[in-house]
Symmetry: C2
Amino acid sequence: MAVTVALDGRGAERGPQAVIAAARAAAADGIGLRVFGDGEVLAEIGDLEGAELVPTEEEITNSDEPVAAVRSRPEASVVRAASDVAEGRSDALVSAGPTGATMTAALFALRRMQGVRRPALALQLPVPGRAGRPLLLLDVGANTEARAVDLVQFAYLGSAFSAAVLGVEDPRVALLSVGEEQSKGSAEVVEANSRLADAPGIEFLGNVEGRDLMGETADIVVTDGFTGNVVLKTIEGTAKAVADAVREAARSGARAAVGGTLLRPALGALRRQLDPDTTGGAILLGLRGVAVVGHGSSGAEGIANAVRLAARAVEERAVDRTAELLEDSGMTRGVMRDRKVS
Amino acid sequence: MAVTVALDGRGAERGPQAVIAAARAAAADGIGLRVFGDGEVLAEIGDLEGAELVPTEEEITNSDEPVAAVRSRPEASVVRAASDVAEGRSDALVSAGPTGATMTAALFALRRMQGVRRPALALQLPVPGRAGRPLLLLDVGANTEARAVDLVQFAYLGSAFSAAVLGVEDPRVALLSVGEEQSKGSAEVVEANSRLADAPGIEFLGNVEGRDLMGETADIVVTDGFTGNVVLKTIEGTAKAVADAVREAARSGARAAVGGTLLRPALGALRRQLDPDTTGGAILLGLRGVAVVGHGSSGAEGIANAVRLAARAVEERAVDRTAELLEDSGMTRGVMRDRKVS
């Protein structure tokens, strides 16, 4: 049976045309859609085979405080879409709107898995090289702070997702820190390192530094949501700055211009590797359902890839498999409880 | 009168030959040197005009615990070099050895300025563009955690250094966070944002995200030492990965190879901009003296630039000018005390 995705059609940075184009692409892939948004602006979507348009009047924007807005606006498109999943009419939530509101709506409607203290936002990094092997970073922004126990849980959430949805066999986990030695980093990171070394079911490589983040070794890099968000955006900003500087260099004279022209096709693949829209959005792990937040500029391709990622997570039973891994590791029996007195 | 730099000649990643070449380059610039290290291996330095070799037998390596090692080895080259500054025989400390040991030796020998809770390690970022305007990031690793009051102090330390040594007029400060809005980030970052908005003598721009770190607006970016260290290394790793991928693309066929060759001279300037050795080392701000840690691979050019940076900081009276700014802002009178009960 086809997967049905509840898509929040409001709040996309590139506007409703990007949502319409994304819906068309996803529907062409055979993914069922229920799109929540402006009935007039998105009317075209109602004509797509396998897609249904559900008009909603309210919206939550980037300037709203997410928790208050989600609580007070049950008719907002993202809240309606999240409820649609909770009530079983759709299988997964996707939004290209504000991240905070999407995470809040998903958390309220889909609820945390047993044993999970804090859900984490995970994203496949747009990095060059790695011969097609995906690199997953989490948390990229669900929590601004993380205790050691949270970092350990993120390792489980990332491992289950990487194996189930990204197809990585025995994924290897690294912990982001300021040095490779076990003693380097904040107190929480040092404690997480020692816990991860003993964590059943986790293939733990130890600490990794920012410099080696996109090296060949780790499949999953674990960090708190503040550092992860800053790092993710730093990678995107740096890649863009360097790519821009290369382009600038190719305009610096006739000789260089010819060189740039000859090199252009070979650089096209690199540009696609670095494009945040190709990675398909960030997935909120640790919930009893699938929720994906569009990443990048949320153009048509980015939103379509977010929908595809959500559909794959449903097809691959990502939620059940994560619950199984948590169960096997003893996390749901309280083994992973925070050691500290709060 | 010429500046004399106390240079720790041990522990450079590229070995003693890099130290000798750096000493030669710095001496040629008219900088006085007292070099502490292996008397036999570094013997050549004794023959340089304006340079003196001070043989020391002990060493502190990356695998030593910094505080214990500095306390127990008064004859270690970095400890001797730091004491040389404290006792007035040299004007500044430079080391290409382990960062932790250098910071500890500097802190013990040179002591904190009045009113400064925690010194911070500041580094000029190797980023493309910006038309030659320096971008200073701090803290890049002196402290793994930072309270709001520390982040505010880093803004003062960075502003004074940027104006005095980097020649930036009215330097503008940004706070690294996960969103531009004042409410975004960890509790300490949110509090730092509100304090910086009212901080006398600070030109505060608000929050900046990882994506915009190397944009055109801020001259100084303030963050805690964990995030700063990860970000710094992420920038270096990403720039290298993208540059490598461009080089790889230029090998992907005959047409691309010709393109790469034609483009090479134009890319040389970019390569120099991205080379960590060109930025001249990280300076430990907030002490009653000048201390610089070599950055990058600490090749000859990196060490020589670290010595030049230290000499410039002495010539420009960076320490006195920092103390004046702190005094004017009221920080030394306790105005900047931590508001929280510890």
